[in-house]
């Protein structure tokens, strides 16, 4: 078995999960402002729901939210490691990519906190700055992991010798079944 799957990876995942449990638990104790997750729109009440109009409704949970999303990012990147073979530079590439991913999420939270107080209203590529960071940054950066999958499949995921072992196992099972039928 690949060494990382038997050692630190599951422990890190467990700590991330415990952290997320704490975040979720705290949300039940922190009082939510009225309309914190949407209220009836004054003109289109039957169909559209709105939050506040520019005031900071997240002031009590923004940094908790940052913690929540960073725990998620860590959980995702470390989970990806579970599916790889621990050979070559996998860990290094994942750490760099993970840090970049986390930094993008951090930039989003900071930009949004400015936006909520009336700033950062400039439109970038069709959307307000924080939304653009969300769509193009948080949405775009993880594509790097798919690129790794395509380019490094034979090295990090399924080596030809591993596939040969599987083929031998399949052949052996077929022979056993044939003998069993005879």
């Amino acid at each position: 078995m690949s060494d990382h799957r038997s050692s630190a990876v599951p422990v890190v995942l467990m700590f991330c999960l415990l952290g997320m449990c704490v975040v979720v638990g705290l949300l039940f104790y922190i009082e939510e402002p009225e309309g914190g997750h949407g209220a009836a729109h004054s003109r289109f009440a039957r169909t559209m729901y709105q939050g506040d109009t520019g005031s900071d409704r997240l002031i009590g949970v923004r940094w908790l939210g940052l913690g929540f999303v960073l725990l998620q990012v860590t959980f995702f990147v470390v989970s990806l490691l579970l599916g790889t073979s621990h050979r070559g530079p996998v860990l290094g590439w994942f750490m760099i990519s993970g840090l970049f991913y986390g930094a993008t999420v951090g930039a989003l939270i900071i930009a949004e906190s400015v936006y909520a107080q009336g700033g950062a209203r400039n439109i970038v590529l069709g959307f307000p700055l924080p939304t653009a960071i969300m769509i193009y940054g948080v949405g775009g950066v993880p594509i790097i992991f798919s690129v790794f999958y395509v380019l490094q499949f034979d090295h990090w995921f399924l080596k030809p010798e591993d596939m040969q072992r599987i083929d031998e196992l399949v052949e052996q099972r077929r022979q056993n079944q044939a003998e069993h039928c005879d």
């Binding site: 599951p10 997240l58 599916g83 948080v138 775009g140 999958y149 395509v150 499949f153």
Partner: protein, 517 residues
């Protein structure tokens, strides 16, 4: 061409329905045993599997539910879309090769088959089957409702069809409400159910995957065209849409939309990691011909999804802007965002093609759900309770398909969940929270035990049911957090916690080898 808009839409949909019948009958000839019915004989190429994977993920939920949520909540639901880049990576890293290798060696016909091999526990298989049935009902209900909404829109907008219905007192009684001007939801769901049952009973999963190819191709082309149409509907394109919505409510156009930060982040977690627990998607990874094909399937699926998701974003934003600018009357319900846009602003031919694609999306996804649900009923439940499969599995599979479709129709009408997308999110949440620990983590971590897997499924089901029941009584989770996400965090914690506290299990040699790779 504009004056024939409704006729063109109906013609496109009818053409598609006939194509479906043809695919169903063709697939029936190729469906000779339960292996063909559930796993398409495991002969799919990389391109067909890619199309099947991404179109199973998007479906009617994305076509109708996505614009519905953007119209209603602003940017909140875009977290369900952007998570796909990390979500697909997670699904393929954790399951791409692993599931296919299990399929290579053990020839499973369902996900609970894999679970039974991995944990050597019939209890875990039983619980996984029950969880799958719960998720199938919820998700299938969302597909039924989406199909019914579209069907209702098409019929009500067509004067010829409405006139035809009004001429027959029987059709009036069956289809129209008391005002005689609108088709009832019950009627359109019944029609949707009947069409689905015919299609699924005849063709099984083979019909589904080949319709997925058709659907996927339509979705990609139509999404680009709809995106361009939406951008041209509002002068100034997306920049002006952003400005209009921000002028009304900056929060709606901000990254959290109106739902708020914690709600959006809970969706991000649920939809990113939860993809690795969607049986209608991950079982397709077991159907491809060669193990190494997963390397091609990941990028093709991802590109297909990202292009198709343009439809989700563009229609919702355009309709919200048009209503705010007073250029379109306020919608009677947010679920009409997609149909209203297509009926009013899209070129008639494009509208017809998108409606046909929408039916394709719904039917192929529903077929996928019916297939995994049916496998749970006729294969996994008997194997875990009676410890043997049913005789004449293929016949019982077709009977179970009818029963499941009817149950989902009833749930769609009676569950009290009004939004199509939230019905879909409920199904997604059940699958994610019950199957991700046992399957996605369990197939990559040898220390996971059967007790941990069973416990995580029970906890996930318990939390999901508790949230659903409490919402029926008007209770809401704080900060808009999603119940499925809480269930997922809980079930993962339980799974890993119990496994850490247990003696590491001894795995059979063949399982050990697959997990070593």
């Amino acid at each position: 061409m504009e004056e024939y808009r409704q006729e063109i839409v109906v013609a496109c949909v009818l053409f598609y329905m006939f194509a479906c019948i043809a695919v169903g009958l063709w697939a029936m000839r190729r469906t000779k045993n339960s292996g063909d019915f559930f796993m398409a004989g495991r002969h799919l190429g990389a391109f067909v599997t890619s199309m099947a994977v991404f179109s199973s993920t998007l479906s009617g939920f994305g076509f109708v539910g996505g614009p519905e949520l953007v119209y209603k909540m602003g940017m909140s639901s875009i977290w369900m879309v952007i998570c796909v880049t990390i979500g697909y990576a997670l699904s393929f890293y954790l399951l791409g090769k692993r599931l296919r290798l299990f399929a290579e060696i053990h020839e499973p016909l369902s996900l609970p088959d894999v679970i039974a091999v991995r944990y050597r526990s019939q209890t875990t298989r039983l619980l996984a089957s029950i969880a799958i049935l719960g998720g199938v009902i919820g998700y299938l209900a969302s597909q039924m409702k989406a199909m019914a909404v579209v069907l209702k829109s098409i019929v009500e907008e067509n004067t010829f069809l409405m006139g035809f219905i009004r001429e027959s007192s029987l059709l009036q009684w069956l289809l129209l409400d008391s005002s005689q001007t609108a088709v009832t939801m019950e009627a359109t769901i019944a029609v949707s159910c009947a069409v689905l049952v015919f299609y699924c009973v005849t063709g099984g999963i083979i019909a589904s995957v080949y319709t997925d190819v058709f659907q996927g191709a339509i979705m990609v082309v139509a999404a680009v065209l709809v995106f361009l149409t939406a951008a041209n509907t509002v002068d100034g394109g997306f920049t002006e849409m952003s400005r209009t919505i921000m002028a009304d409510d900056p929060e709606a156009m901000g990254p959290w939309g109106t739902l708020g930060m914690m709600g959006c982040l809970s969706w991000y977690f649920l939809f990113a990691l939860g993809g690795a627990g969607q049986p209608q998607v991950i079982t397709k990874i077991m159907m491809n011909r060669r193990v190494r094909d997963v390397r091609t399937i990941l990028p093709l699926s991802l590109i297909g999804y990202m292009v198709s998701a343009l439809l989700w974003l563009s229609i919702g934003l355009a309709m919200r802007t048009l209503v705010l600018q007073g250029r379109h009357a306020e919608l009677e319900s947010s679920g009409q965002a997609a149909t209203a846009f297509l009926q009013t602003y899209a070129h008639p031919l494009l509208a017809g093609v998108v409606f046909a694609g929408l039916f394709a999306a719904i039917m192929s996804t529903a077929d996928g759900f019916l297939s995994v649900g049916t496998a749970a009923i006729v294969r996994d439940l008997p194997k875990s309770i009676l410890e043997r499969p049913l005789k004449n599995e293929l016949l019982w599979a077709r009977v179970a398909t009818v029963v499941l479709a009817v149950a989902a129709s009833v749930f769609a009408l009676k569950s009290g969940i009004s939004l199509i997308a939230l019905l879909g999110a409920y199904g997604w949440g059940i699958f994610a929270s019950t199957l991700v620990p046992a399957v996605a983590i369990g197939l990559n971590w040898k220390r996971g035990t059967a007790l941990a897997a069973s416990s995580s499924i029970v906890v996930a089901l318990g939390v999901n049911i508790a949230v659903l029941v409490s919402e029926q009584y008007g209770m809401r989770l704080p900060w808009g957090i999603n119940g499925g996400a809480i269930a997922l965090v809980g079930s993962l914690t339980v799974y890993m916690g119990i496994s850490f506290c247990s003696t590491p299990p001894v795995l059979p040699d063949d399982v050990d080898i697959v997990m070593d790779v």
